[in-house]
Symmetry: C2
Subunit: 300 residues, 2 copies
Amino acid sequence: MSLIVLGTVALDNIKTSSGMKKDLLGGSAAHFSMSARLFTIVHLVGIIGADFPKRHIQFLRKKGIDLTSLTVGNEKSFRWTGEYKKGDYNNAITLATELGVLLNYTPEIAHHQRNLDNVFLANIDPDVQMKLLELMGKPKLIGLDSMNLWIEHKRQSLFKLMKKVDLFVANDGEACAITKESNLVKAAKALRKMGPKLIVVKKGEHGVLFYSDNFMFSFPAYPVDHVVDPTGAGDTFAGGLMGYLTKTKKINDKNLRKAVLYATTLASFNVEGFGMAKTAPLTMAKVNERMKELVKFIAI
Amino acid sequence: MSLIVLGTVALDNIKTSSGMKKDLLGGSAAHFSMSARLFTIVHLVGIIGADFPKRHIQFLRKKGIDLTSLTVGNEKSFRWTGEYKKGDYNNAITLATELGVLLNYTPEIAHHQRNLDNVFLANIDPDVQMKLLELMGKPKLIGLDSMNLWIEHKRQSLFKLMKKVDLFVANDGEACAITKESNLVKAAKALRKMGPKLIVVKKGEHGVLFYSDNFMFSFPAYPVDHVVDPTGAGDTFAGGLMGYLTKTKKINDKNLRKAVLYATTLASFNVEGFGMAKTAPLTMAKVNERMKELVKFIAI
């Protein structure tokens, strides 16, 4: 089984109560890959500018991520500058977005990548996400993430896309914004009716709710007592989820619960450092060690 | 093992998006008792006015709650009028509080009640809570709940009391307000340092975090998709917690997890109806049935 992800590869400037960092390797596809690579080879589809630091690219390559379809565009690299206020890590405050290469991006993939099994459409313009889907053969599992910007400004494109995917990942605010429900269980049910069979609602520090026709479950988050930078936590979560599902192959209740546990564990590392400081050095041994702690924490 | 609770017995006027109800039987000790009576005989300590409806008293008595120390005062009964905005059930908006009999209340108990094993100080003025404690012999387990009003206006009384109790129950907002921490894990650790060995932080629809020196755990809430009225959910939770701990006697990791599961289950019934509409008719069979669903929902 194999996994391909489309999303952004960015330069992030981030300010939190722990400090400020510039030119961090970031973006939805990069964070996703850094997490999913622990379970499988990840093919990354995205675009950077010629100004993108070589060290970031070498870094991704050294982690075993396939960069065949990481295009270099003519514009500047995509940049995000954001801030989190102390104690409010669920709400990123965007200070600046420089789209650069993303402005006219059309995803391209190598011929041999068309038949990869599992696809994840990480956060990027839903029209771009649709274009990747059109390039793919018959994926076994398609996952989708989005964000408030697209929910607000590209609602119809997003809704069209939702009909074509199997798994939808949203945070609580997004789930409520899409469905106009305030109750998360109702929101999850409403998302299911929009297309995807598997609904994952992330609640940040409060954990996650999974919904499908046949079963639902919920886990708390791993208890992190010092959040440094939550940027990419959702992508890291999705990387663990799709990574494990790609490795385990069979999608059922038991495996989905385990995939969500891995996703939760990986996201907990992500928030403990700026950018990929805590996820990049991870080995499966370290992940499994923390997952054991998580299991002890939430066992009945 | 036996259980005594001090708290308010109130007449509630409540408005939610599901409607408006007047003169409901409410109050912290009443909701607590309605939940804990499923596990043990509960001795209720509190005060009502002569205007308190007889039907409410008969109702509590019929449920097997010991009303020996429910005093009738000369003032009017305590009344609370409040509202919840749709989708924001974690924040009660107080429209009116008529203290009445609570203004000069000093708890009194019968001689034979002094040696009851377990004590719960449900939400009421911390000076009044302290007075009950002074009347008791040597309880095996003392639990305490409070609210923002006392955290703000009777901080020193509350802190003094916290040194004398074993178990402290707070919602997330209260835990942060007491400790001035924004991270719940840090807040729980800080509460532990203030005295109580067992810390229970309730997060409403997001479930609960338990903290002690030797172990911690967290469970999501039971997924309720139609919240009618959350008034008393915290007291109902505490009643299930203390009720089960009174029944099971031994306080350890396993029993605390089970007590929190019962507490979570009972609170989920509470929010599904106005006042005690859904908790009063409960039998242990019905509680166990939903608890099985909860276990399935949160199992790893």
